[in-house]
């Protein structure tokens, strides 16, 4: 640790040095009111979270640590610091991996704190008519419009991001190096053709006597970039005794919006999902992306001040399950194809730290005949993907990834198994960066199970 300063990032952000005008007092009060002071005070500065924080490990700087970030939030809440570009940089330099939450003996709900901080930043910008371009464009133009995502698939992901870059350059706000996009591009699998997608039936019946009717939450990135993994997940679930319904009119989970301070967009997406799954009358809402799952399970907190929706969110949340979580509760899968491969499992942060799901995927992996699971020394330390972090904070993300790959290589595994699309992309990128193409692969756990069934 303590050697790597985030060079690229500091350069990137130094473009914009003048402090924005402070909003009028009443507006500022309303903004600052959003901070949960009790939760901020709950942090007793013990520092137990520091060794688990990937950005602190990279930099050795207090400003890049959970304890430091909480102190900065408190500084802003107490009006000792202003909501300026430096504060924004620091709040967005966090991966949102929530490893600090697992480590914190005081039970500080860091995930909520960082969401609020970003909400305050974004709201502050809106007050000044100065929205954050990069995030706004990615989030509003891509994820809010399921149709657009569907039409363009991966291509859209890439081109939108490139389009962003032009705009960003024009405004001088942020430089996204083409390299970042290019590097991400070659890790993306070929997108399923539209005709293939049309073949998807709305219900995949259980192969055995049906035990449960589950609504499958597709996830927007998941369904575009990893269509086949979604199909595989449905097959695995159907072999485990579930009728799998691809519920209509479902939307993006809203996680990226919530993590980026776009709270109202996030709640609108949540409402669409709650409605869609209510109509489907299913026993469980099942997903295979740790990041989405953590958000879906958090919906009731998003409606804390809206009694009607809070109640509906409560019943929705009670039904949400990660596919790993559900599968270990069902009768064991019968595998027919032994795989004879050494694998290592990279925890999805939002599965492990967000939902406490650690053993279930490992149990499933170990149950596959011929598969040997070898653990990394820090399997639950973030791979650096962090939602759109690898686009907004490319250099730090890659430093974290390089450390991760070193850890992976010690296991001598041929396959890195993950349980979240962002992690999967990032691990694929890691394999390329480490020059291990052909020797190592990355796969979603559901694909692995599907291959062995």
């Amino acid at each position: 640790m303590t050697t790597n300063m985030p060079d690229l990032m500091s350069q990137t952000w130094q473009v914009h040095t003048e402090t924005p005008p402070t909003p009028a007092t009443s507006v500022r009060d309303a903004l600052l009111h959003k901070f949960d002071i009790d939760e901020l005070l709950n942090c007793m500065h013990c520092g137990f979270c520091l060794p688990t924080c990937p950005t602190y490990q990279q930099t050795g700087l207090e400003t890049y640590s959970p304890r430091g970030r909480i102190a900065l939030m408190k500084g802003v809440a107490d009006e000792k610091l202003s909501i300026d570009i430096e504060f924004e940089k620091n709040m967005y330099a966090c991966l949102g991996c929530r490893a600090c939450e697992t480590a914190c003996p005081s039970g500080v709900a860091y995930g909520k704190l960082i969401e609020t901080a970003r909400e305050v930043i974004e709201d502050n910008k809106k007050c000044q008519g100065n929205p954050s371009f990069i995030r706004k464009l990615v989030l509003k133009n891509v994820f809010l419009h399921p149709k657009r995502v569907r039409t363009f698939g991966t291509a859209l992901w890439i081109t939108q991001a490139l389009g962003l870059q032009k705009l960003a350059n024009k405004t001088g706000f942020i430089h996204i190096l083409p390299r970042e996009i290019a590097e991400m591009q070659h890790v993306v699998d070929k997108v399923a053709s539209p005709s293939k997608r049309k073949e998807r039936r709305p219900i995949l019946r259980s192969e055995k006597e049906s035990i449960l009717k589950i609504g499958f939450f597709k996830g927007c990135i998941m369904d575009e970039m990893f269509y086949e993994t979604n199909q595989a997940t449905a097959r695995v679930l159907s072999k485990a005794g579930c009728d799998v319904v691809f519920v209509e009119n479902q939307a993006c989970c809203g996680a990226l919006h919530a993590h980026s301070g776009e709270k109202s967009d996030a709640t609108n997406l949540a409402k669409s999902n709650i409605e869609a799954f209510e109509k489907a009358h299913v026993d469980f809402v099942v997903n295979n992306a740790g990041g989405c799952g953590a958000a879906l399970k958090d919906y009731h907190h998003w409606f804390a001040n809206d009694p009607e929706w809070k109640e509906r969110a409560d019943s929705f949340v009670a039904k949400v399950r990660d596919a790993n979580e559900l599968l270990v509760e069902l009768p064991p899968l019968s595998f027919h194809k032994p795989l004879n491969v050494r694998v290592t499992y990279q925890d999805s942060c939002h599965l492990a730290h967000g939902q406490g799901i650690r053993n279930q995927p490992r149990q499933l992996i170990r149950s596959i005949p011929g598969v040997e699971l070898v653990e990394m020394s820090h399997p639950d330390s973030c791979c650096g993907s962090g939602g759109i972090y690898n686009i907004t904070n490319f250099s730090m993300s890659m430093d974290i990834l390089d450390d991760k790959m070193e850890d992976v290589q010690h296991t001598k595994a041929r396959l890195i198994v993950t349980s979240n699309p962002g992690c999967l992309l990032q691990m694929k990128e890691g394999i390329i960066r480490a020059g291990l193409q052909g020797q190592m692969e990355a796969a979603h756990i559901m694909d692995l199970l599907d291959r062995a069934l």
Binding site: M1, L61, T63, E86, G107
Partner: protein
Amino acid sequence: MLTEDLRQQLISVVGQKWFLDSPNELHAYSYDATPLLQSIPDAVIIPSSVQEVSMILRMANEHRIPIIARGSGTNLAGGTVPVQGGIILNMNRFNQIYEIDEKNLTATLGPGVITADFHAAVEAIGLFYPPDPGSMRISTIGGNVAQGAGGMRGLKYGVTKDYVMGLEYVLPTGEVLRSGGKNVKDVAGYDLTRLMVGSEGTLGVITEITVKLLPFPATKRTLVVYCHDLYDAARIVEQIIAAKIIPATIEFLDQATMKVVDDFAKLGLPLDMASMLLIEQDGAEEQVMQDIEKIAKIAHHVGAAEVHMAATIEEGAKLLTARRSALSALSRLRPTTILEDATVPRARLAEMVQEIERVAHKYNLQICTFGHAGDGNLHPTCMADERDHEEIERVEQAFEEIFHASIRFGGTITGEHGVGMTKSKYLHLKVGEGGIELMERLKAAFDPNNILNPGKVFAKRDRHRIVVRQS
């Protein structure tokens, strides 16, 4: 404030990257793990060599700018809070282990090495560095040395000060000195190494440390003892020692502490018990089992409600890890957690626990107690709310009474956390006015301009806890 000229000179020493002074950066180095204390520094510098430290100190000395050495900022005495502003000198880039000398059983390392990382490195080759403060996963060895840190294995193995054999340190003049070394016996002049240990950054900046190592014990076993009564636990501790058994660790947790620890670590503790003891013995297999059996017998005899041996070494380790989280876990209860470490000779443990309960009751405060029972080092911890000034005032009074009590029992005001800012006004209770004066004269010999961590150890004696300085 630093003049622009000085600022540029300092930058030229370490480079722009390691000189921080933006508002967020200064704010992030304005606190440590001590509650209620905050003060904004003028700059944060992160040097990487002794030459850089020497140059920075010389410049600061010339301009009378305070220098506050900092490890990971986990001390609980306000030790790294820059009360008079100045430069935070973060030593965490000195994070290399230079040598592990298996022939002499010593290791030489930088002060920025994380304590637990150092444990892992020596244990990997069958060696043992016993000092293990609760914060070891993040504290630095430099911070441990400067603060004279203790830990859970103090009873049998002693504390940090018992392991430091040699040091390299820098004085405000920029002089780089060495003291001690690898010699087990060394009486050449005053023991300056010992003087630096626990000096809390007020005498010099430590840049290299040589410590003593031991062979790693063959095995260990953990015993958990639950008691219906607080005093039974204290009596068990007394009886174990009286039976001439010295366990590696005897930790004590009262009921409220058990509850929060269980909440965090999900251990399934019996929460109807008034207190628990965690007892660990290490050494050769046969001896360990013999001792553990004897201890179990004593515990039953004194009236323990339940005695239970951890099935595996891992289970024992899990319990001790959970114990390390006690302080942070207690902070779940109320917004502000204030802890002290009044320490008494072991034989007075029961009386001290009783006294703490009485004081808590008198001032209508919630005080939980846990700590290193084996060495009489208790951590009475008060849960309060910093926004309630009247309550904080009562906390202040309660701790004052607790300090007086521990002195009365032949104890001390701080066993391992140091004086810093929080206990400076009680220092005279322990060392007397004469002691303070002599310490001040020593300080002046090392640091005549008082630039090294000013306002610590013997600060103004009427200082109260709430010190928030704005730049």
